[in-house]
């Protein structure tokens, strides 16, 4: 096992330049949004009040930022310290992902100057799932900052601070497990109040938090696998495929639990029939279900699991599965009165793309200059 070290190398490459350009476009959209309002840059309307800035930038992206959550559980609670090399990249990616989610939420807020009301006890509404999500995510971003800080303390040789922090790190690790359990499950609870405005294939009421939490864990595992391969190829590191293959084992069980819970709920509540009525919703359901089921073909077989390209395909399928489930539940399954349509505008899309580009750009810069990645350079 090797110590984490900065990858080094040039910061300005064609890829980072492209990412910077996409980020700049996002910055321009951001300016337009604050000067001219939401209507000027989005296709949001009162039939579709939540578009991709909420459903992708917050709901999907924070799910994909659950790598830190999953790795912290595996390493520190399940005592699997062989996966410790995954901690630093995972915490950095999670911090950036949640930062992006938080920024996305504020950008989407119509009356952002009133945001302080979320922390005024007289204004806080404790029946609101949104309040729970907002506060929990805000605190978790702070916790992630602490969890991601050892690499920076090490780089700046603040060893005394680092040692002090390590003595209390277990508190932040525990917070970093409790908070995502709370707000990731609450992302499902958000939809319960919508009742029959959410199509029956997705409205599972009291099971919503469980499904949201399972999808968060699946997305967390799969993004770690994806990031592992991304680092290996992009930064020319030695293969971590055996480590990743071993790490991927529990996710197969998560997928099995997912499919059992999902189909049991649909069957017991007599809603499975909707999946066989030819419709866009049924197609969306089967696409989602296939994306959850197909990775099992790779993950349940020890031979196939060890083949890096198959594991990568499984990881991408699971990332898409989680993303498609959440977009389905929040947008596709949302029944809106006649006459409303929504498809994100070009400016709306470019902000989302630009924010993701910014996240990747910062990740690359940090990895090149700070000790995040442990895998040695490919010989």
């Amino acid at each position: 096992m090797h110590r984490a070290h900065p990858i080094g190398g040039r910061l300005v490459t064609p890829f980072t330049t492209l990412l910077a350009l996409l980020s700049l476009i996002a910055l321009w959209v951001l300016a337009q949004r604050f000067v001219h309002g939401l209507g000027a840059v989005t296709h949001l309307n009162n039939g579709y009040p939540w578009g991709i800035w909420v459903v992708f930038d917050v709901v999907v992206v924070t799910g994909l930022a659950c790598g830190g959550y999953v790795v912290a559980f595996s390493v520190y609670v399940a005592n699997r310290f062989q996966y410790h090399p995954l901690v630093r990249p995972a915490m950095l990616a999670s911090l950036l992902g949640y930062g992006l989610g938080g920024l996305g939420a504020v950008v989407d807020m119509g009356r952002y100057l009133n945001v302080y009301n979320l922390v005024l006890p007289g204004q806080m509404n404790f029946t609101s799932v949104m309040l729970e999500v907002a506060l929990c995510v805000a605190i978790y971003i702070l916790v992630l900052t602490v969890e991601a800080s050892p690499a920076f303390l090490e780089r700046f040789r603040l060893h005394r601070h680092q040692r002090k922090l390590e003595r209390v790190m277990f508190v932040f690790i525990a917070l970093g497990l409790v908070l995502p359990t709370m707000h990731q499950s609450s992302l499902g609870t958000l939809l319960v109040v919508l009742g029959n405005q959410i199509a029956p294939l997705w409205q599972s009421y009291e099971l919503m938090p469980l499904l949201a939490l399972l999808s968060a864990a699946i997305m967390g595992f799969s993004i770690l696998l994806f990031e592992g391969f991304f680092s290996q190829l992009g930064f020319r590191r030695a293969s971590e495929a055996p480590l990743l293959a071993a790490f991927a084992r529990p996710v197969a069980w998560l997928l099995v639990v997912w499919l059992v819970v999902r189909f049991a709920e649909l069957t017991l509540r007599g809603k499975l029939g909707y999946a066989f009525v030819p419709s866009g919703l049924a197609a969306a359901f089967w696409l989602e279900t296939l994306l959850f089921a197909l990775p099992l073909w790779v993950l349940l077989s020890p031979q196939r699991r060890r083949r890096a390209h198959l594991l990568l395909v499984a990881a991408v399928a699971m990332i898409l599965a989680g993303a498609v489930y959440r977009v389905n539940a929040f947008l596709i399954a949302y029944a809106t009165p006649e006459g409303y349509h929504y498809f994100p505008s070009a400016t709306e899309l470019s902000l989302t793309i630009g924010l993701v580009a910014l996240k990747i750009l910062v990740f690359i810069i940090v990895v090149k200059r700070f000790p995040i990645i442990s895998a040695p350079a490919r010989s």
Binding site: R3, G39, N46, S128, L131, V192, V193, Q197, E206
Partner: protein
């Protein structure tokens, strides 16, 4: 900890959430109507579609007229539906040749759309900053733009498509009917009627307490179709009766039980879903959502227990790890002063 424990742990966290879900079925019943709940009874069979209520609403609330795209001068209001500029609107159901009023096939019917002032409102339940509130006494659902953060969860959650956010503004707000009693209008406090009720020439929109309106609605449903009835105008005791022939009512009061009940009640000659009113179960979705949330977070017991558990495991495992690798610099977790960059 072996693999079995690992999986058990993974399932345990999810299990806590699932258990919360299973036991929350009746954790919070529907809210009861406010003690002096005010109400409107809209009788679709009396509405002639004159839209006097729409105009009056705009005057009272200082809202601009909404014109069609091909109109160059805003001479009159042509609002097609609720919007940031329209709190109250009359819409029509039509079928086939639309010959006969209040008939489902080849007929038509009018419906008045404004905030239903739910007995157990979703918008109030979901608002993170209490910008939507339900008056404890008269049950009116009020909106406070100074508190609102513009998250639009109320727009997303409302089954009636009522709260309307103003996307055209650079710093928009929500618009919705507040029974003409919001700050700066306060018609009820001054002993006046809501604008739409005052303007209605046929008594299609009637004002009173929820109890009075439910009693009047039940009275109408009990009448024999074809007989004469003195339909009250404005309120039950304003002395402004209009005689009219009793139509064949659809035999239900919309808003009596729907979604936990509403303070705007509807009577109609056609089925309510034809008028665009959603069919909702008696248990309010707000009660179901709050019941679930409060079961999971009751006394913060589950989160605190989870925190204590994982903190204990994390601390123990970190200590063990530090002991195992105390004399092993290559795998040591703690930083050493000779740590160096091997960049390049």
């Amino acid at each position: 900890m072996n693999r079995r424990d690992f999986l058990k742990g993974m399932a345990g966290g999810a299990g806590a959430v699932a258990a919360g879900g299973a036991s929350s079925a009746e954790a919070r019943p529907n809210r009861e109507p406010a003690p002096e709940a005010v109400a409107m009874l809209f009788d679709s069979t009396l509405c002639v579609g004159c839209k006097a209520c729409v105009t009056k609403c705009k005057t009272v609330n200082g809202m601009p007229p909404e014109t069609r795209a091909d109109e160059t001068l805003p001479l009159w209001d042509s609002a097609p539906g609720l919007s940031a500029k329209t709190l109250n609107v009359i819409q029509a159901y039509t079928d086939g040749t639309a010959e006969v009023k209040d008939r489902e096939t080849d007929g038509f019917a009018f419906v008045k759309r404004n905030c239903m002032h739910c007995v157990d409102p979703g918008c109030v339940s979901v608002c993170p900053v209490s910008a939507m509130t339900k008056d404890a006494n008269n049950g009116i659902v009020f909106y406070d733009a100074d508190a609102c953060i513009g998250c639009r969860y109320c727009v997303y959650a409302c089954p009636y498509d009522v709260p309307q956010f103003d996307y055209a503004s650079s710093y928009g707000a929500i618009s919705k009917c507040q029974f003409c009693n919001q700050q700066g209008v306060e018609r009820l406090d001054h002993g006046l009627l809501p604008g739409c009720v005052e303007a209605c020439p046929t008594g299609a929109t009637l004002f009173g307490t929820r109890e009075e309106m439910l009693a009047e609605a039940r009275r109408r449903l009990a009448l024999t179709p074809g007989s004469e009835y003195q339909y009250p105008r404005e309120t039950l005791d304003a002395g402004l009766e209009v005689p009219s022939t009793v139509p064949a009512y659809y035999p239900k009061i919309y808003g009596e039980e729907q979604g936990g009940g509403t303070q705007v009640l509807h009577l109609s000659g056609v089925a309510f879903d034809k008028l665009g009113l959603p069919i909702l179960p008696e248990r309010s979705f707000a009660s179901r959502s709050e019941g679930l949330l409060h079961t999971i977070y009751k006394g913060m017991f589950a989160p605190v227990a989870l925190f204590a558990g994982v903190a204990w495991f994390a601390r123990r495992n970190l200590q063990r790890q530090a002991q195992e690798h105390a004399g092993d610099p290559a795998e040591a977790d703690s930083p050493r002063d000779d740590a160096h960059d091997d960049r390049g």
